[in-house]
């Protein structure tokens, strides 16, 4: 069609931003780095140094980028006792599932490990089941309203995790769940565990009895700071904006510097385009 050739002229002339090349290379590099991290968690599973040495050699040989990024990998001693216990993909007409499930190990506290690992497993399975139900309902709705199966796209569910902080005493990690159907959902579960006594930490444990005052004033200050940039908007207090945390069970994790980071989900205190909001509480 002649007209489409004309339109293609416009398409071909679309300016490509200078940063594109940088963006592309950065995303590729980022993925490689993550991959190496994961390898490390697997690695601590190896019980003897010989076994881990073999693994190490294999990876160096098969992945040329590994050598260059090795200096960024944390030292074995302070690696979390969190590892990928199960990684799987599932695909059928309803869903496309991609799961990387973490588990806790080598803490010297079997009861703690069992409890946490069981909780993680049940939570993830429950979420996938719920998502599947939603997908089913959605598919039926499409068909009942006269749509064909072709209008239905399988639901996409992704579960993975991030280790935020880990020492011999404390591990802090986050389980992320992304679900895409008609729109995208993101859910996070936070785990901050004191390995020495098996307790799950709350804000009072980490920041002391004044935790609420410390957190509230720091967040308010940071919101004020961020709002100086007109691209950033937060809800007003009257519209459900931030007016202090409710209690010590507020979602948080501990970052690399050992500081508490308070996390608000999308839409919780700001419009959706602002995404997840994190506030580091500097001590």
């Amino acid at each position: 069609m002649e007209e489409l050739k004309k339109a293609k002229m416009v398409y071909d002339s679309i300016n490509v931003p200078n940063e594109l090349n940088y963006v592309v290379h950065r995303s590729i590099a980022k993925q490689k780095k993550n991959k190496n991290r994961i390898f490390y968690y697997f690695k601590i599973l190896a019980t003897t140094t010989v076994a881990s040495f073999v693994l190490f050699v294999v990876t160096v040989n098969s992945n040329s980028t590994f050598a260059s990024s090795i200096s960024e990998v944390p030292i074995i001693g302070d690696i979390a006792r969190i590892f990928t216990i199960k990684e799987y993909q599932e695909e059928d007409e309803l869903k496309l599932v991609n799961v990387k499930m973490p588990a806790l190990e080598n803490t010297g506290n079997t009861e703690l490990e069992n409890r946490i690992n069981y909780e993680i497993l049940t939570k993830i399975n429950e979420k996938i089941e719920e998502a599947e139900k939603r997908a089913e309902e959605y598919r039926d709705a499409v068909i009942q309203t006269g749509g064909s199966l072709e209008d239905f796209h399988p639901i996409n569910i992704e579960v993975n995790y991030e280790v935020k902080y880990s020492t011999n005493e404390i591990v802090s990690f986050v389980i992320n769940k992304f679900e895409t159907l008609a729109s995208a959902y993101n859910e996070q579960d936070f785990y901050n565990i004191d390995i020495t006594n098996g307790k799950e930490l709350n804000l009072r444990d980490v920041l002391g009895p004044d935790y609420k005052q410390i957190v509230d004033s720091s967040i308010k200050k940071q919101i004020e700071e961020r709002e100086k940039n007109s691209d950033n908007t937060y809800f007003d207090v009257s519209d459900g904006g931030f007016d202090g945390i409710e209690d010590e069970y507020q979602n948080f994790y501990i970052n690399e510097s050992g500081n508490v980071v308070i996390v608000f989900q999308k839409y919780e205190i700001a419009p959706g385009y602002m995404g997840i909001q994190e506030f580091e509480i500097q001590q």
Binding site: M1, E3, K6, A7, D12, S13, I14, L20, R26
Partner: protein, 163 residues
């Protein structure tokens, strides 16, 4: 596995401009198109184990790219962000392009998402019907009928514009 990964990375590096243009044609926003490219690369590399044969690198990547682009549109639809504005800043030598060409390009934006996708892939990215079918998770007959529909609708729009 490592081989497929390398092939994918090579493919991404070599074709980044095309990917950007495809994403841009959905959202008409420079930053958002960059986001789409970035997110698609991350998804592709995370899910590389699903890609069994390197022959499918291109179509498989386009599946992800299109999916991401459509999701961006859906997410922002309520804000009506997708009016094509300020196109002259985003097109090289804009003043030298016949206005008719720009109008036709804009018409494509008014087609529904599925039809628009096959038009973009067929006429802008020169994909084969078979490749489009794989990239859009459908079959060749559906692609053909969407193409036909798209061309008819475009013709109507263009003629309508002339009157």
């Amino acid at each position: 596995m490592q081989d497929v990964r390398c092939v994918l990375i090579e493919y991404i590096k070599e074709n980044q401009e095309k990917m950007y243009k495809t994403a841009f044609t959905y959202v008409h926003d420079r930053d958002e198109a960059l986001d789409i490219v970035q997110e698609s690369i991350a998804k592709a590399l995370q899910n590389i184990n699903k890609l069994k044969y390197e022959e499918y690198v291109k179509t498989w990547f386009y599946r992800i790219l299109i999916n991401e682009s459509l999701q961006h549109i859906k997410k922002n639809k309520r804000n009506n962000l997708y009016e094509i504005e300020n196109l002259e800043n985003e097109i090289a030598d804009y003043s030298e392009i016949p206005i008719e060409n720009i109008e036709i390009y804009k018409c494509i934006n008014r087609l529904n998402e599925k039809i628009r996708t096959v038009i973009i892939l067929r006429f802008f990215e020169d994909m084969k019907i078979e490749e489009i079918a794989y990239s859009t998770r459908t079959n060749e007959n559906t692609v053909k009928s969407r193409l036909y529909k798209g061309i008819q609708e475009l013709k109507k729009m263009i003629e309508g514009g002339k009157n």
